[in-house]
Symmetry: C2
């Protein structure tokens, strides 16, 4: 397997990306190719001992920033790490593309270069959602599609279900639809119609899930339109950050509190770790004809390493083909009716 | 002023409601009338010393539960505390109706009995949103309208702005629109069009606010469609609850941790208080021709007391008339163009 890693994406690139590649390379036999401005990547690589057969560098001169309009950037910057990297997956020169770069550009690149899986109307961004005190859930769509039709939500469920099984190893995951209430009749026109479609699928659909139960792990695959999914993901991030900050300020306020906090240092570290997404790899773009994974812009070397490791079952589990076959089956059943 | 209090709504009714009325009554000169099954309310009242001129009971035999279809319940249960209470506001026999009962029934009752304020297309539920370490924001719509048009979001902003100024005492509040990104061009068709309307209003509109910045107090009035607002409110509740639960379990795990936690007991209490909505009163239904306030179903006596106290500026600040006048002004300007 050959893993193509974007050397230019993310706040800490190329340093964190290169270090992550070196760390991952020690645990796997697969080849990692880092694509981007060669001299920058080589300078970082020079800081480490690594197997030169397993980590190589491919020069690509252009960089797509988060501020650029994604579609225009992908169309004009042919020599960017993102466009070149996705093209390598298309040509079979690479098996997966991993990047901490612009989500929009990765989505646009996936759509224009690889194309949609036949039968998938809207590819989606799937994001691991941390459940404190338990294994994480998977949120689909995490923000790629601000507006959705009911069949899009069905597709998000199907794709998330497959990724959850094949990559995150959850058997028969519980698929839930984010909605205003538990009853089937609740919600918007969109969620009511999506409920109907999901209920008639062969997935383990557990029905509507209220937002208050999402952080409690009420379902394994959290289905939502991209607007709602984005709100869920970002609100969780912002609120957890805020609460931890408040705890810190309270626990350093006065000598007595400081002593108490010192005794709880280990526990506080454990607590912080509960919100660490980095263990579970990045966010796959599901529904395009090839594996692409988006990492958080502020990914650490450890997060990069874990995303590379989780990329292996994404490829070996044939997630893309499985999604294709599942959707074709549904189409056949529907057409046969 | 005469405050009409629903004796039958909420998980702890009538006990918490009655106790809250007694507590409030000690701090104000206004009359409180508790409506509901007389014998139950009287039995609770008998537990306290109170001024019999300031707290009286009105018998209403029917009860609307949370499980009932709101529209049907309001239409059929004419002798319910909710229908009778709202009718008292309509007839001028009461100045405000406060209830911990079914949100749907309160909304339906407000619409059918009081009617919409002229120029308001969709009344909304406004909910205080706790900002840890700071004063709270106000979220409109918190879940009454799962589907919205751009002008509904403008109306939510206008109504929230007025309530924030008149009742919560925030001068020139910052009005923000929940969206996928900070740029005006981001988001769904709905949010893009709403942005345009809000930008051209005379409110202190600060633009789009990402969900991650909502818990940090990025704006005072949080404008969102009811689906998104409901997700924000409930996710915050669920996540905060979950984090506090996790802290508790970590801090009682082992003798060292327990000692540390003992030293931090005061701070932990302060922390928990940050999430206590009860201080800020209930959630007003804005856009109907009279003050109605919905309290949380699990409201404590203290929450009931605070809701009663906050109900006074809701009435005395002429919030309903101010909304009416603001909307008429906008209509005149629009027609004049």
């Amino acid at each position: 397997m050959r893993i193509i890693l974007d050397g230019m994406g993310g706040d800490n690139a190329p340093a964190a990306v290169v270090e992550g590649a070196v760390l991952a390379s020690k645990e796997i036999e697969h080849e990692i190719q880092i694509i981007g401005q060669q001299e920058l990547i080589q300078a970082e690589l020079a800081k480490y001992k690594y197997d030169e057969k397993k980590i190589t560098v491919i020069d690509a001169r252009e960089v797509i920033s988060n501020e650029e309009a994604p579609v225009r950037a992908v169309r004009s910057k042919k020599d960017s790490s993102i466009v070149r990297g996705i093209n390598m997956v298309k040509k079979g020169e690479g098996d997966i593309f991993i990047s901490a770069g612009s989500t929009g550009a990765l989505m646009a690149g996936g759509l224009f270069i690889l194309g949609r899986i036949q039968g998938i109307d809207r590819p989606a961004l799937a994001s691991v959602y941390p459940i404190v005190g338990s294994i994480p859930s998977l949120l689909v769509d995490a923000g790629a599609n601000a507006e959705c039709k009911p069949n899009n939500l069905l597709e998000f469920g199907i794709m998330g279900n497959i990724y959850m099984e094949k990559v995150l190893g959850r058997k028969n995951p519980r698929v839930g639809l984010v909605n205003l209430g538990a009853e089937a009749a609740k919600g918007s026109t969109l969620t009511k119609a999506a409920y109907d479609l999901l209920e008639h699928s062969d997935m383990n659909f557990i029905g509507n899930v209220e937002a208050r139960d999402v952080p409690k792990g009420a379902c394994d695959v959290i289905v939502a339109d991209g607007f709602t999914g984005n709100v869920i993901l970002k609100l969780t991030e912002g609120l957890a950050w805020n609460i931890l900050k408040l705890i810190k300020s309270k626990f350093t306020d006065g000598a007595k509190a400081k002593l108490g906090a010192a005794l709880l240092l280990d526990k506080m570290k454990e607590l912080k770790k509960e919100f660490d997404y980095s263990e579970y790899g990045g966010a796959p773009i599901l529904g395009v004809k090839g594996p692409i994974v988006k990492m958080h812009g502020s990914s650490s070397a450890n997060a990069v390493k874990n995303t590379i490791l989780k990329g292996i079952p994404f490829v070996e589990g044939n997630v893309v083909d499985t999604i294709q076959n599942s959707v074709l089956e549904i189409e056949e059943i529907t057409l046969g009716e």
